[in-house]
């Protein structure tokens, strides 16, 4: 089992959710996050003059997938989250030791 953490543009959330659904992954966790990459921050207006905001709003999707599905899911996320401009985000993949479905107590791959 692998956990995918994809930090993407806010407006790409719906497209990525649909793509995951197509790959039969209905379950996921989504959070509003702030971060920065190579695009840097943003200058906003104060009453007169400006101030800088260094962290920009993004969406983080967490989804745990079977090893054999990993490359397909990663491809689905990257194609659907990409604009080609700076600020498209990043994906991190980690190994997951176990998973448990709270309702039934199922564990391991059965819980996904």
């Amino acid at each position: 089992m692998k956990k995918i953490e994809a930090i993407i543009r806010e407006e790409k959330l719906e497209a990525v959710r649909k793509a995951l659904e197509t790959e039969s992954y209905l379950g996921m966790t989504v959070s509003e996050v702030c971060g920065r990459g190579r695009e840097g921050g943003l200058a906003l207006q104060w009453r007169a003059g400006e101030y800088r905001v260094e962290f920009l709003p993004k969406m983080k999707i967490e989804v745990v997938v079977l090893d054999e599905d990993l490359s397909r899911v990663l491809l689905a996320i990257t194609t659907n989250a990409r604009t080609g401009e700076r600020g498209d985000g990043k994906i991190f993949v980690t190994s997951v030791e176990d998973a448990i479905r709270i309702r039934t107590g199922d564990s391991g791959v059965d819980a996904i």
Partner: protein, 411 residues
């Protein structure tokens, strides 16, 4: 003199309108601070609403408007509203109950004290706000109100024009604001460039809207009668607010984009600027009064920032400068054709009036700055002005009030 029901109704409504400005100010300021200090900023205004309202009837009104003592201060004859009743006063607003005039003036005192709190948000201790406010009402507001508006006040006798408080309200609060901010020092991280992001600009717009609405009571109510003069002040008020809001919007557009925060700020600056002049100038004169106020305030705000002075919500740049320009503008644009009880200004052949205005502005600047500094020092040496560093980091909502503006994890 007999009570006039139209005048009385208008003055009572105007008192309620001015009352609403203080919660309006609370939102106006509250929206501009960081999320962790939103409630504490709102509380500063609400505390003034309650505290100053009580101090005013106990002794504030008597000190400001009571029987004159050498042009400097009012006597204590009216303390606890002694002799201030349902019959009209023989001196002030002689067609309405004395109580109506008293409560109208109470609302002015309340918002003036609330105004300067914008300078010290996010770091001044709540207990210190209460003590300082009481001292400031007694030793800054009351004397200045007496000088300018009290029967026998020395600036009033000199013929200084201040229709609704450009000098008494906006200069005294705005200049005191910078004095207290200098004494208190900047917020933690201010000079290091930590972003101080406004938590809710819609709240600022709501507050500006309430202020604009209440300002009709502030300025048109200051006619103290319900007639042509009130209508003139009402119209000039709306024009100056609009002219300044548009000017500020254009300035922000020139540099970047038409800013909402900028437009709200501009409106307040224009409204402050027309305050001393509203019942002395023609409607058309309100356009340059508002527009010039916005330009002056905009660039002085940038200047203030460049100097690294953390007068956090620019009470000085907005109210101090708006009030100063407005008081001088009254000396330029005033016409006895608008208000026979007023005077002619520079443009109507009376340069002396501008000099009188300049003198009053200068005196009140020096007095407000100096007295605020002394009172601030006194509070600092006794109970302390500032919260601790940890309390400031945590935020004043939790450290001063044990509450927070927005609910927690569980919705």
């Amino acid at each position: 003199m007999a009570i006039n029901s139209g005048d009385t109704a208008w003055l009572l409504i105007s008192s309620a309108l001015v009352m609403l400005m203080t919660p309006g100010l609370a939102f106006f300021y509250g929206g501009m601070v960081r999320r962790k200090n939103l409630l504490s900023t709102i509380m500063m205004s609400f505390a003034c609403l309650s505290l100053v309202g009580i101090l005013w009837i106990l002794y504030g009104y008597s000190l400001s408007f009571g029987p004159d003592r050498s042009g400097i201060i009012g006597g204590l004859e009216w303390i606890g509203l002694n002799g201030v009743g349902q019959d009209p006063s023989s001196i002030y607003a002689t067609t309405v109950p004395h109580l109506a005039f008293m409560i109208y003036q109470a609302m002015f005192a309340i918002i003036t004290v609330a105004l300067f709190t914008g300078a010290v948000v996010e770091r001044m201790k709540f207990s210190a706000i209460l003590v300082f406010s009481a001292l400031w009402l007694t030793l800054v507001y009351a004397p200045v109100a007496h000088w300018v508006w009290g029967s026998g006040g020395w600036l009033a006798r000199l013929g200084v024009l201040d229709f609704a408080g450009g000098i008494v309200v906006h200069i005294s609060a705005g200049v005191s604001a910078i004095s207290l901010a200098l004494l208190l020092g900047p917020r933690k991280g201010f000079r290091e460039g930590t972003p101080m992001e406004p938590n809710n600009i819609p709240l600022v717009m709501l507050g500006a809207g309430l202020l604009w609405f209440g300002w009709f009571g502030f300025n048109a109510g200051s006619a103290l009668t319900s007639g042509g003069l009130a209508a003139n002040a009402f119209v000039t008020t709306n024009i100056a607010g609009g002219a300044a809001a548009l000017t500020w919007m254009m300035l922000s557009w020139i540099y970047k984009r038409p800013s909402a925060l900028g437009m709200a700020t501009g409106a307040v600056v224009g409204l402050a600027a027309i305050t001393p002049a509203a019942g002395f100038v023609t409607p058309l004169a309100a356009i340059p009064i508002g527009a010039i106020a916005a330009v002056l305030s905009y660039y002085l705000m940038l200047f203030r920032m460049k100097r690294g002075v953390d007068e956090s919500l620019d009470v000085w740049a907005c109210h101090g400068i708006g009030g100063t320009w407005g008081a001088l503008a009254a000396g330029i644009f005033a016409s006895t054709a608008v208000n026979s009880a007023g005077a002619n200004g520079l443009l109507h052949g009376n340069p002396m009036q501008l000099l009188k205005q300049l003198l009053a502005v200068g005196i009140v600047w020096i007095f407000a700055f100096g007295m605020t500094w002394l009172l601030g020092k006194l509070v600092d040496k006794t109970i302390g002005l500032r919260v601790s560093e940890t309390e400031e980091t945590v935020g004043l909502d939790i450290s001063q009030h044990g509450e927070r503006a927005y609910g927690g994890l569980l919705r």
